[in-house]
Symmetry: C2
Subunit: 151 residues, 2 copies
DNA sequence: CTTGACCTTCCCATCATTGGAAGGACTAAA
DNA sequence: TTTAGTCCTTCCAATGATGGGAAGGTCAAG
């Protein structure tokens, strides 16, 4: 099967399949004489695994670890669980950050008339030199709003 | 005051101040003869406004809108509120996505012994060809985990 | 007049992903 | 058989916000 079919069957775009190959997340495939990549059902299965891990927000690095544990019959389930729980704690931290932002904003918006007049507590708060800048410190590795994982 | 002092006083790094200038979020500053940027207290005030908006997760684009409303004495507070509420809804969607991931993972981890044996429901789920790939579709514009907003 | 702290611009990296260009390969229909 | 259209290939660039660092100019204090 060609890359387009593998993409369709796995839910991972052809672009990303090539990318995953380039960074070594998946091995280099067999090629046809013309240079086309050829995929087996087994490859598609691996791609689906990767897609599901990605859907759960794992980084490519973590996914690489998960794939290698998946393929290791002698793995310790603890190693998998550790990765998962570490990720859960990152997710939960991010959730708290976002909740903090949302609740601050909702509070401000509730106090804003939202009419044609200029008075606005939201702007007042942003302009307030006293304002506490440090509800929750964003962590160093991940920001708070991310960018395209568009699919 | 020089850029370093403005950075310190505003909480926005010198790098980011130059970047904000380059993309037009803030106007080009006066320069000394030697080419050093010079900032006033008023500039610092604007930078603080920007930093606070950023701390609330607004995009640079939204911040540009907020700054311009801030400086517009004839603004309608509704315009500000709309931006804020739109952002709240983005935040809340993202929160739901992350919560969905975290709860799925916690559930799986709860059922994983986490010992030295290989059996692992987490991997089983990732490898499960039946698995629902579509709890919540990540939206097209923002991914789920972001990258450095490190500060 | 040197040292060190600051400033300048420019380029690169991050992370996962998409877009597009230029060109080759394949397939089905005219 | 030629042609159209779809697929594939590689390569390069952009996204968003931020940091790192190099190479070189400026300034203040000693």
């Amino acid at each position: 099967m060609n890359i387009g079919q593998a993409a369709q069957a796995s839910g991972v775009s052809a672009k990303m399949i090539r990318y995953y190959e380039s960074i070594g997340l998946i091995p280099k495939t067999v090629r046809t004489e013309a240079g086309y990549r050829v995929y087996s059902d087994h490859d598609v299965h691996t791609l689906r695994f990767i897609r599901r891990a990605r859907d759960l927000g794992f980084s490519v690095e973590q996914i690489a670890d998960l794939v290698s544990l998946w393929q290791d019959r002698e793995r310790a389930s603890k190693d998998v669980k550790d990765i998962a729980l570490e990720h859960v704690s990152v997710l939960e931290r991010k959730i708290r950050e976002l909740q903090e932002m949302a609740s601050t904003l909702k509070h401000l918006a509730r106090n804003c008339h939202g009419d044609t007049r200029p008075h606005c507590p939201i702007l007042e708060e942003l302009a307030n030199d006293e304002a506490g800048q440090a509800h929750i410190k964003p962590d160093a590795k991940f920001g708070v709003l991310g960018k395209a994982s568009a699919r």
